[in-house]
């Protein structure tokens, strides 16, 4: 089975500060890492490969230093990788990112299955996976929490809906986005690090893709316009009340009414 996994490099900590004036994330001096949800995607791909044989390809769009997470996927057991990197890809929103990745996937082959993490920890949109599938015109299932069966030409999945779990049988090729916890991601192996240290991580730019239209990539290809980024307000107000259970419950009802929660 030929499996592709889309991965992204994100800031290594959740405590990235936002420059309030420019709205830009202060990334200086902050480590990067593979998006934690993508670890589940890579793990899922490797688990399937171990059972069904085949090849796992990881691909990412990002600056040249994002090659590091592809090396890390090699250390987890991925077979090949590719980085799509070009100044013209910079500033992409979810749509332009999904388009770039869909072009990249076409460049690399015809996978039976594409796996993405449910979302990234820096963007938090959970839209790129499904949009890639739309561009490739294949079915997709988001929030997959369990793979029940892999058949000759389809895959049976548990999909986590807000109040229910749906079991679906999807035709291959398809794209799935996986939930945290589908499998416990393995740790990168030092043995594989040694074994893959000379394995190539090919870089591709706009000119390598089928569609050369610059207006579909990066900032130019992004309908989303970010007006302002700001840290959310944190409310740490506290009131401590003392009294009997009855007094306190009445007071609580009054307070919630006052705050218009009731």
């Amino acid at each position: 089975m030929d499996i592709f996994v889309c991965i992204k490099q994100v800031p290594g900590t959740t405590e990235v500060e936002v420059d309030e004036k420019t709205g830009v994330l202060k990334r200086d001096g902050i480590d990067s890492k593979m998006n934690p949800y993508d670890l589940y995607a890579v793990e899922t791909a490797i688990k399937i490969k171990e059972e069904k044989k085949g090849e796992v390809t990881v691909l990412s769009m990002g600056p040249p230093q994002a090659a590091e997470i592809i090396g890390e996927a090699y250390m987890m057991g991925a077979d090949r990788g590719a980085l799509f990197t070009d100044m013209k890809f910079a500033g992409a929103d979810v749509l332009a990112t999904a388009y770039t990745l869909s072009q990249g996937i076409k460049k690399l082959g015809n996978p039976d299955l594409i796996i993405c993490g449910k979302m990234t920890t820096d963007g938090d949109t959970a839209q790129v996976g499904p949009e890639i599938a739309e561009f490739l015109d294949i079915p997709h299932v988001a929030n997959v929490k369990k793979i029940l069966e892999i058949k000759e030409d389809s895959i049976v999945l548990e999909m986590d809906m807000p109040h229910t779990i749906e079991i679906v049988d999807v035709k291959l090729p398809c794209l799935i986005t996986v939930e945290k916890g589908i499998y416990q991601p393995r740790l990168p192996s030092f043995k594989r690090k040694i074994a893959t240290k000379d394995r190539e991580i090919p870089f591709y730019s706009l000119k390598d893709l089928d569609d050369h239209d610059e207006m579909k990539y990066g900032l130019d290809g992004s309908p989303t316009q970010v007006k302002r980024i700001f840290p959310p307000e944190a409310n740490t107000d506290q009131e401590i009340w003392k009294g009997s259970g009855e007094e306190l419950s009445e007071r609580l009802v009054d307070k919630l009414g006052e705050l218009k929660f009731l």
Binding site: G12, Q184, R186, L187, F190, K193
Partner: protein, 464 residues
């Protein structure tokens, strides 16, 4: 030893010092205060006093001294040898309300705290200031006072040392109520016998620690762990001396076996990143840049592979670290949850003898037909070996436990080890201490105790 029983006059005095709200007697004393975490002894104090401030400690102590009332100081009661149990009743002095961080001195790199501050509060406070207090016992909700009194060790001892190495000075209330400072914000000190070092590890028998000046280090910017699967425990542990010999110094070297990992997975409901091997070493490295840390760990990774490790798995992000260390932190609780009752042997042996000792204690399982589980600090020779009661009848349990403990302590002594690596002697391990240090050693300890506490009112029945 005979002591005065608490009467109404005593209670009136205590109320006059601390007020009614912080004095508890009879049924108002929470059950928690009658025991600590493991030793299997239960005894309530006659009165519980929750002190606030050195002056109060001093006044209570002076009164107790004049009236021959025993006093047992207590932090969070997380000890494992009955050290904070009021064996003779009397006053229990709960130090946990003395929980203020008093001063961060960035010029001397010291932190001054009251003794009831929790370890986790100290590490959080320091982290925010890019500083670091290295001792790192598993129980983060313990007080610093308790840690000082047991000379707690923890996982980073391989590289940094133990609590004693990070205590610069102490404020202590002596049994007669006098307040004394020992040590200070000084780096060197050759001024006579080190009273500070006598107080550290004295388990509340020489004086009551009210304040501590802790030595700090700059916070290392990077830390990574290596989880190293081995075909069996012997191979894993035999690799440790080779790592130490290589002159690379990890922050921590822990060993663990699959049974304990599985118990922890079940206890936490979380999956460990790898449970396919019988035995693991868990190594941590810290440093100031990724390159520095990588360079160091690669050397060790090769040593382990050469010694037969199945692989070397790298944990280099927050979520990977959490998936490993949350399980490691739950080992004790997980083993506890898997049985009806247990007791622990906290011996320390020279590091090149660990493999021999672990094998010896594993073999005792068969010999005595009892379940024994262990994990521990392979890098500093301190082992935590748990003997589990399971379904054994009480009498048989006590008999077997004593026999197994005798075997283990005898073996430890033969290998050049000591009774306790970090949990202390308290009440539970006294007989083994006597055996270990002999009559002369005990005579010296008793005379030190006598010099501090001629009436023997402070935490009686502990250590010596």
């Amino acid at each position: 030893m005979s002591f005065k029983k608490i009467d109404n006059n005593d209670l009136d005095f205590l109320v006059s010092i601390c007020g009614e709200d912080r004095i508890f007697t009879g049924e108002n004393i929470n059950e928690d205060y009658s025991h600590d975490e493991l030793a299997g002894i239960h005894k309530f104090p006659e009165v519980l006093v929750r002190v606030k401030g050195t002056e109060e400690v001093s006044k209570v102590m002076k009164y107790a001294y004049e009236n021959n009332i025993p006093v047992t100081p207590r932090g969070q009661g997380t000890g494992l040898v009955g050290g904070a149990v009021a064996l003779h009743g009397g006053i229990m002095m709960d130090m946990s309300l003395m929980n203020n961080i008093l001063e961060l001195d960035e010029e001397n790199l010291t932190l001054t705290v009251e003794s009831g501050v929790l370890l986790m509060e100290i590490s959080k406070f320091l982290e925010d200031n890019d500083l670091f207090y290295p001792p790192d016992p598993g129980e983060k909700s313990a007080t610093i006072g308790g840690n000082i009194n047991t000379n707690a060790g923890g996982m980073r001892a391989v590289k940094y040392g133990v609590t004693r190495d990070f205590v610069r000075g102490l404020e202590v209330v002596l049994p007669n109520g006098e307040i004394m400072e020992v040590g200070g914000k000084i780096v060197k000190n050759s001024s006579g016998y080190s009273l500070k070092d006598l107080i550290v590890g004295s388990e509340g028998t020489l004086g009551i620690v009210t304040k501590a000046v802790l030595r700090l280090l700059p916070l290392p910017k990077k830390a990574i762990s290596l989880l190293i699967p081995f075909p069996n425990l012997e191979m894993a542990i035999e690799t440790v001396p080779q790592i130490i010999k290589s002159k690379v110094i990890p922050t921590a070297i822990e060993y663990m076996v699959r049974d304990v990992i599985l118990a922890s997975e079940e206890f936490l409901g979380k999956t460990f990143p790898d449970n396919s091997s019988d035995a693991y070493l868990l190594l941590t490295f810290d440093g100031n840049s990724k390159e520095e840390v990588e360079q160091v760990y690669e050397k060790v990774a090769h040593i382990c592979l050469d010694a037969g490790a199945i692989d070397v798995l790298i944990s280099n992000t927050q979520e990977r670290q959490e998936s490993i260390w949350s399980a490691r932190g739950a080992f004790l609780e997980a083993i506890k949850a898997s049985t009806t009752e247990m007791d622990e042997c906290d011996v320390v042996v020279p590091r090149n003898k660990i493999a021999e000792f672990v094998k010896f204690s594993n073999d005792l399982q068969k010999e005595f037909d009892i379940r024994i589980r262990s994990f521990g600090h392979a890098g500093d020779g301190n082992l935590h070996i748990y003997v589990l009661k399971d379904e054994l009848p009480k009498d048989e349990w006590h008999r077997k436990l004593n026999e197994v403990f005798d075997c283990m302590y005898t073996k430890a002594k033969e290998l050049g080890g000591k009774v306790s690596g970090e949990h202390g002697i308290g009440y539970a391990k006294k007989p083994y201490l006597e055996e270990s240090i002999g009559d002369r050693g005990m005579w010296i300890l008793k005379n030190i105790k006598l010099a501090f506490d001629p009436k023997g009112i402070l935490n009686p029945g502990k250590v010596c």
